[in-house]
Each structure stands twice: as C-alpha cells, then as structure tokens.
Symmetry: C2
Subunit: 348 residues, 2 copies
Amino acid sequence: MTDTAPQRRARARSKRPPTIHDVAAHAGVSRGTVSRVLQGGDNVSPAAREAVNAAIRKLGYVVNRAARSLVTQRAGSVAFLLSETQDRFFSDPNFTTLLRGCTAALAELDIPLILVTAGSEAERRRITPYLSAHHVDGVLLFSSHRGNPMIDHFLAADLPFVCCGKPLGQRGALSYVAADDREGAKNMVRHLLESGRTRIATIAGPQDTPGGLERLAGYRETLAEHGIAHDKRLVATGDYSRASGESCMYHLLARAPDLDAVFVASDLMADGALTAIQRAGLRVPEDIAVGGFDDSPVAPSTRPPLTTIQQPWDRISKMMVRQLLAQINGEGPATVILPTKLVVRESA
Amino acid sequence: MTDTAPQRRARARSKRPPTIHDVAAHAGVSRGTVSRVLQGGDNVSPAAREAVNAAIRKLGYVVNRAARSLVTQRAGSVAFLLSETQDRFFSDPNFTTLLRGCTAALAELDIPLILVTAGSEAERRRITPYLSAHHVDGVLLFSSHRGNPMIDHFLAADLPFVCCGKPLGQRGALSYVAADDREGAKNMVRHLLESGRTRIATIAGPQDTPGGLERLAGYRETLAEHGIAHDKRLVATGDYSRASGESCMYHLLARAPDLDAVFVASDLMADGALTAIQRAGLRVPEDIAVGGFDDSPVAPSTRPPLTTIQQPWDRISKMMVRQLLAQINGEGPATVILPTKLVVRESA
DNA sequence: CTGAAAGCGCTTACAG
DNA sequence: CTGAAAGCGCTTACAG
C-alpha cells in the first residue's frame, strides 16, 4: 500500500522528464561524468562520452535549467527591456525589426529572451527588483529618452546591460550600440547639396534623444562646412510622429517660402512632410527635395518613394547581443558605432 | 590565509543577493517560516509574519526563482510562441497588438514572458525539446495555418497551451481563443446589403486559415439567407497581403464589371482593393462599397477611411493568458469566442 | 579520466 | 503555529 521512498521516487520519475541521474544509470557512469559531457566533454574518455550521448538520445534528456542556474548562479536568459511608453515603441516599425533581430541572434545561442516592458514609473518599480536580483544575466535596453533611472539600478546591482543608442545624461562608460547618426545626417545633407539645393531646411527629432541631437548636429556641420550661414527659420523640431512632421512642414513653409529641400530626421515625419508639401500645391522633388532617415518599411511606398538613410538594424541587434554576452563573460563596456547608408529613391 | 567553509560562505554571500537564510536569521525564525510567509502567510503568527516582512524589506530580499522552480517543478514563466514565418508576423500590426496585450496581462501576474519564434522546420526542431522539457509552464501559440506539428508535441509532453484562433486540422478538444469571424463577416455583408448593394463580391483569405474559411462562410451564409444565388465569379482568394488584395480586385472587376460592393477579409487586402478600384477609374463608395476586416491601424487612414470589422485584440490576449493559467492550474481545455464590432467609416 | 560528496536556495510534508 | 530535515537536479572542486 505505502511505497518506500525509493519506490515513490521511481514512480514519480516515470512521469517526469529524465534527469541526469537516469542518464548516468543508463550509461553506467557517475552523474559527474554526465555533467562533464554536458559541459563540453573535456576530461572525458571517448568511450564514456559515447555512452553518455547515446543515453541522452535514447532517453530524450534535456537539462533542467533551473537546477543548473541554481548552482552556476546564472539565469541563462537575457531580458529585452522596453523602457518607453509601450504605444510608442510597439507602433514603431523599427522596434519590431530590432526585436526580431535580437530574438534570432539569441535563439542561435539557445538563450531565452524575456520580453519586459517598463513604460510607466509603476512598471519600472515592479520590474527593477526582478532584474536586479539577477533573474536574467543581462539586459538589452531600449529607451530613447534622456536619463533612464533603471540604468543606475543595473549599475548598482552589477547587472550587465547594453543600450540601443547612446544613453543621454549618463556619465561613466556604458555599453551601447548605435548607428552613426551624425554621419548619416551629413551624408543626406551633402546629397541634397550636390543635387543643387541651396535653401535646405530640417525637421529634427526630439532634442532629448540622441537621434534628435546628432542628426541636427550633422545638418548644421555640413552646412557650415559648405560656408552656408545658419538660418534658424529653417529648423523645426518634431516628435518623430507623422503628424508632427506634417505640422512642422507647414511652419517651415510659412517661415521660409523659398526653401528648396528638407532633411527630415525620420521617415514617418518625412511622410507627414510630403503630405504638407503637396497640400501646399508644391511638387516633390521638383520644388522641394525631401530626405528622410531610417529606411523604414514605409519609405518605398510613400509618394514619391522616399530617399533616406538606412539604419543598420540587423547589425545593431546582433552587436547588442554580442556585446551583452561579452559583458556577461566579464569583459568591460564598449561603444559600437555602425555606419548608415544613403538610399536614393525619388523624393530627393 | 585559508578561510573555514562558513567564513568563505559568509564572505561570498556578502556580494550576493540575500537568501531566505539571511531573512530567517534577521527575523529570528526558521527558513520554513520565511517560506510560508512568502507563500501567502497562512499558518503563520502575525508576529512572525511582521518580523519576516520587515527583514525582507530591510534586506531587499527577492526570491530566487531557479531554486523555487527546482522544488516546485514549475518554471514560473510562459512562452509566447510564433510558429509562423517571422516576416509575416512581425510585419503584421495585429501581432504587435497581441504581443503587447499578452505582455501586459502577464506582467500584472509577475509571470515572465519568453518570446520564441519557430518559423522554420529547423527552428521548430530546436525549440521543441526546450518547450517539451517544461522550461515554461505553458505556451501561447500563434500560428494561423493548418496542421501545426508542435501541437502534437505539446500534447505528448502534457504541456498546457492556448491557441490564438481555431487550430485547423486538429482533433480532440484544444484550448483556443478566437474572434467570431463568421458572425463578423455576416455583420459586414448585412451592412452592405442594407445600404442597397446587390452585387456583392468578396476577397477571401487563405483557405487554410480559420479566418479565411469562416469569413467566406459568413459571406455565403448571409447571401443565401437573403435569397441571393451564389455566383463564383464574385469570389477571389488572396493571401492577406496588400498586393494580393489589389490583384484580386482587378480579377473581380474583369470577371464581374457590375459588382457594386466587395467584402475583403483583411484591411491590408482592402487597402490594395481600394487602389485597384481607383485605378480602374471607379469611386469608393459611390460605385463600389468596400468593407474590410480587422480594424487595423491602417483602416482610419486609407482613402477613403475604411469601414471594417473590429477584432477584439485586447480581449483575445487577456483571455488567452487567463485560459492558459487555468490550464496550468489543472483545468481542462476551453474554447472562447469573442464578438466583433462593425466600425462604419466612409468606404461603405 | 572518474566517482563521491557538498552545496546552490528554495518548499513541504512531518512532527511536535 | 513552528522547526528540522529531506530533496528538487544540477555542477564542481577534491581525491584518487
């Protein structure tokens, strides 16, 4: 009626996935040897390795990660943290591209990706202890605005993290991967200049984001390099949304009716600008050339198709993963800047 | 020079997050009591509970989930599984809506969401053992096409899962949450009929997806109910893409020039149909009324804005999470069908 | 190259 | 209501 402890255990095990104990018994070795094979198989005789691998296959053994984590003191997983209003990011096509890239890069390494959002202060408070308690080995941080408070927690908890884009308002060396925004902007403005435009306006992004800052700086630098005096009537600042691009363009048109080109810091805003220009009865690119930034999915299907700067999203996500793993393995922080590419279509 | 074991342990601990052991020592109780408080605090005296909670706050204790998982035999996490070509899903706006909804619902329950993709056969082979080994407690499954092979593995491994949409080609009772596609389609066709249209065409979705099947069935049923004979020249089948909507519409126009309305099984395809109709020199809705399905983000900004059927995405994700947790807690499978809503804009 | 043993941080019957 | 103890499934010095 009542089983002995070993009987009970054996019975329970029959319903459960096999453990290292079962593999060891099957292969006729100790559990230590099985573990060594699992770790890569150094210091194991070929015969033992073979027997263990055969047993693993036969039993369909899969390591229990919780048990492993407990002893190695590593979670074995990584967080993809969206520290931004969710709506903003989830509706941003660039975000899905990044998410897909990181998922793929991590999947190849068999590292689970835990998706975490922290758009509000309340969410941040809830998630910080989880992260700081090292329930993940590191975090891929996506947050565009200045002064993310979570960074200090990660630093305090000694938790590796890599930012997407330069984290503003932070001191000390932090790991981040970013596109070369400034150089990309310069490239576009140069292209506009070379096509003969002389009155080039810009719609910048929010000035508390690296993209907003750097792309505007690139615009100014290029004009300065070409001896063109700065004219603040030619500068408007949007919030990366399509609607803001449209209204900025109306302002620009009103303030500087003679402008013949505009460099817009995002494709979405550029699409809005296109609408404004056409509603004003002007033609693109004949009257006004429009250059965007991102090469987002909408770029080829705007009317006319948008000339823009391609962000290296795939490389960014791959590099973020690589940098994060390096840090988890003890390396120090590093900054990675990736080049962008001018994509010429019809709008400029 | 050489520490004793306890000294070594104490020193190591000082750099590590506090454990239940530290909390117990601090509160002057046993570790068992601390654990009981963590579990909800039944069978614990108020005094002990207070002491433990104070110690937890003071030490900033956070439970080690790996250790907990090891003994409870539960992962404590859930997978969001995309068993579909990644491109297709990541570019689908409905997908991000679902992902956001599930993330939010799970976050409230403090359950980590692990994002897993399995678009190719190779990926499926890699991920199946991980999932089947119960590295997650359950899976939220997103896959639209017929006969997903992973389902059999989940069944065999006794792993709870809930599908988004009716899983085709499966027998036996499976849990799924879906919008009432058929009723939604009927609703739209009725709306078209009531506005006086008599030659109503349809662009259906792929016939190996529940949405493709059910929406077409709803279309047919409604016409039959109104005594309108079935005319197969009025039926075309697309693949949910914008491009397929456009080309289907050209075919329809060629085969049945007298059609005065079209019910399209997705907003993206409807947008394509709009283009085709306008290129053919016809007006929407004057000449042809167009009804979509999804109420996706593009619907309000098509020209003209699209009359469509709203899918209850937020409710779907919430219900999927709820059903999954119920199953994890031992309940049997259930089917949940959620109503849709007609959203009238200008296209019909 | 290999086994025996300790220990990772929890939970949970089992006694009391 | 509470403590002592066993055990979850691994890894890793430590001896040999």
